[in-house]
């Protein structure tokens, strides 16, 4: 039960996008469609789970003075691995997400969880925390992407269900800010009871 709670808290109570307000750049920059959002979320989740596991394993070996640089090196190594894998197997997605893949390294969610959770907990719990926060991030990105895709081009996951043009502004830059802002309002409203 406790294990399940770790995962669930990452999705709702500690939702990285709507509650912790971390990782705003990829949230705004990559959510032009539901699929792009989901892809970015999955890539971040992979790095998050792997780095959480490794950091919780080596946490007692690292002197606390140099822990932040050490964490950054571990995270950067996994980002490079994910980047190379995506370039090889998902070249189209890699091209769309562009500079945001190497920038996973400075996504505050990952260092935040490394410092705030993995450095204090065991391997299994850290992996679960990575999965929970990762899922929360992926879900939020997919939702933002889906809303922008539906309003902007009348499609969802690439399937067009409204004929004619959508409101292009939602696919362009301003739409990212507006959709995220109003989704946050909705999230606050729903969770404030």
């Amino acid at each position: 039960m406790k294990k399940l709670n770790i995962i669930l808290s990452g999705i709702v109570k500690n939702n990285p996008t709507f509650v912790l307000l971390l990782g705003m750049c990829p949230t705004l920059g990559t959510t032009t469609s539901a699929l792009n959002g989901a892809g970015m979320g999955a890539a971040t989740m992979a790095v998050l789970v792997l780095s959480n596991v490794v950091i919780s394993m080596v946490k007692n070996l690292i002197p606390s003075k140099v822990r932040i640089p050490a964490y950054i090196v571990i995270i950067a190594a996994f980002v490079t691995i994910v980047e190379l894998c995506m370039r090889a197997y998902l070249p189209d997605l890699y091209k769309t997400l562009g500079v945001f893949i190497p920038l996973i390294v400075v996504n505050c969610i990952i260092l935040g969880r490394a410092e705030g959770f993995a450095a204090k907990n065991g391997v299994v719990d850290s992996a679960l925390d990575g999965v929970g926060i990762g899922l929360g991030f992926t879900l939020s990105l997919t939702v933002v992407g889906a809303v922008r895709e539906i309003l902007g081009s009348g499609a969802i996951f690439g399937h067009k269900f409204i004929t004619g043009d959508g409101m292009l502004i939602f696919v362009l830059a301003p739409g990212a800010f507006l959709v995220l802002g109003y989704l946050m309002v909705l999230f606050n409203k729903l969770t404030s009871k």
Binding site: L21, L22, M24, C25, P26, L28, G29, P69, I72, V73, A76, A77, V79, T80, E83, L84, V99, P102, L103, V105, V106, N107, C108, L111, I169, L172, A173, P174, G175, A176, F177, L178, L180, G181, Y182, M184, V185, N188, K189, S192
Partner: protein, 190 residues
């Protein structure tokens, strides 16, 4: 001419915050007051420009000759993180006045993805050294411009009666969205 286009493009047309979505965290976090946003903006301009020079030299004189360009992400982030620390130490020693003004903002810059983003972008765009420096400087000025405008709006927003659910970040995002629309007016300028 090329240089002028890079400057206008980086500051107005492809504004780092409103069009490329880099550096959003400090953009939302340090934009409550115009005076602090000026300090943050200046610190970002300073660090980004230096980081771009270092990143350029590393890429073309270390990574490419050794054939290890896949190490780019790791090398860049480490160099930027230590560079920020070094800049902090140097400024503290050389110019206490500047340190007073920029001091508290410098550690925050390590996690500003605009700095790493610019370093990666200038390699992707295959700029030469002069173009890289100009691009980095102009991008950072674009960031400072966005930050100061945004802080000015938020200062006035403090006095307004904002609905409860919209308070804080949501209203800030909506304002940023409208600002982004205004900046779209610059597209087609280059």
């Amino acid at each position: 001419m090329e240089i002028v286009l890079i400057i206008i493009g980086a500051i107005l047309v492809n504004n780092v915050v409103f069009a490329q979505f880099l550096g959003i965290c400090p953009f939302l976090g340090v934009s409550n007051k115009v005076s602090t946003s000026l300090g943050m903006g200046a610190a970002v301009v300073f660090v980004t420009t230096i980081a771009a020079v270092v990143a350029y030299l590393l890429q073309y004189y270390v990574l490419v000759p050794l054939g290890i360009t896949y190490m780019q992400t790791i090398v860049f982030i480490l160099v930027i993180a230590s560079l920020v620390q070094m800049v902090e130490l140097v400024i503290k020693k050389v110019s206490p006045v500047l340190y007073q003004a920029l001091g508290i903002f410098l550690p925050l810059i390590t996690t500003n993805c605009a700095v790493l983003g610019v370093a990666i972008l200038l390699v992707q765009k295959e700029f030469d050294l002069l173009e890289s420096v100009v691009f980095a400087f102009a991008t950072a000025v674009g960031f400072a411009l966005a930050l100061v405008i945004f802080a000015g709006i938020r200062e006035r927003l403090e006095l307004e009666n904002v609905p409860k659910a919209l308070k804080g970040t949501p209203i800030a995002l909506v304002v940023a969205g409208i600002l982004a629309m205004a900046f779209m007016g610059f597209s087609g300028l280059v």
